[in-house]
Symmetry: C2
Subunit: 238 residues, 2 copies
């Protein structure tokens, strides 16, 4: 179980300009008191305001549009669809809060996916799950934490794919970056053995098409995972 905690030269953040603009506009939605229906500044104005090119603003707005936050209408402008969460509470341990929310999200979606997978899995989907699991298992020997988390994600998404629900698949795939980040964090605490066991049970349940057992396997994986507490441990130890 030699997970190299390599932190290669402490990983320069290197985010893209578009992502920064996305974050900036999300921030505006929070703070400017814009309610649903408000018109945003035009792309041109935004590009000046933020000091970037119009194409950069467009790519950002396109993503926000697909997230359902804004809606662009040709000739009219871009409008706020929903309002963001007013205040991100508990600013001090924002990371811990996000981590906790992330596991809540998994807990909400994974049991449903496991059930669907057990109900519908084709034989090829089952092979895909097993293959991902093989790669995951092999990766535990000699991968960096992040690489292993990526393999673990592949395993989980393969279960969603076996469930054949495009909405759930899309929703889960969208959290891939968070998965890698947070699972990587938690992994350093070393709950690998239990996770391995859980994977085996889950695959077996899906394999014999037993939805109840699949759901149970997933839910057991979350039991006594008080993430916030772990986060504290991580913070004090690191």
């Amino acid at each position: 179980m030699a997970l190299r905690t390599v932190k290669a030269l402490e990983k320069i953040p290197r985010t893209t300009l578009v992502d920064e603009v996305i974050a900036a506009i999300r921030g505006m939605l929070d703070e400017e008191g814009w309610t649903a229906g408000t018109r945003l500044p035009s792309e041109h104005q935004l590009s000046i305001q933020l000091g970037v090119g119009r194409s950069t603003v467009r790519e950002a707005l396109r993503v926000l549009g697909h997230l359902g936050l804004v809606q662009s209408r040709s000739g009219l402008g871009t409008f706020v669809v929903g309002k963001e969460l007013a205040v991100r509470h508990s600013a001090p341990d924002q990371e811990a809060e996000a981590l906790s929310q992330f596991f809540e999200f998994r807990r909400a979606t994974e049991p449903a996916a496991a059930r669907l997978a057990a109900e519908r899995r084709s034989s090829s989907a089952l092979s895909a799950i097993k293959a991902s699991w093989q790669a995951c298992y092999a990766g535990a020997q000699n991968s960096s934490v992040d690489d292993f988390a990526a393999l673990d994600f592949s395993f989980h998404i393969s279960i969603f794919e076996a469930g054949e629900n495009q909405f759930l698949i899309d929703a889960y795939r969208a959290v891939r970056p968070s998965f890698i980040k947070y699972v990587g964090m938690v992994l350093e605490l070393g709950p690998l053995t239990r996770m391995m066991h859980f994977h085996d049970k889950l695959i077996e349940a899906i394999s014999r098409q037993d939805p109840l057992a699949a759901v149970r396997a997933v839910e057991e994986n979350f039991v006594d995972t008080d993430v916030r507490q772990r986060m504290m441990m991580l913070q004090t130890s690191g």
Copy 2:
């Protein structure tokens, strides 16, 4: 309950070029046998191949990147992250399948959101829920089906917001277009009365911070909603 089924001039499709490119590339991921790690054609090549400008391709790839389907790396290219579902089964009634999947998705996410909302709702979040519900109720009198569906979505997303889980909020918001489409379809079958009742029970549960009752209310709303069967009715009646 005068939902005008207006179908104003049967609604010209009018999709944007970027969305077509997104669909085209998703199709490629399906059919070209690209596995995770495969490099896509360069943006320049894609723009030629699809007969559009490079910025259009870029906006599409940016969205696909945020969906977690591809990943662009500066200087290297764009790579497939996960593989799409191999074959969308049951091509004949694809709409019915999507509708069914959509309600599966709601069923997976809404109970979790209801529970969180009941646990954490701030008083302002509760006001927001009640306000959305007022608008929704009023809209039932004199809105088009689509407008009403949009109001209903606002109501539901306000519950997610009260739950204060950014991952769930994002996931739910992303299905807004589908919500409006499919809820609009189902509404024409007229289960409005029951829905109204459900909304009342849910708000009450959240209001008195009773997670179990909130979850129960949401789940009752899905009981005996055999969506596929309804879809058939819709098809034969329309």
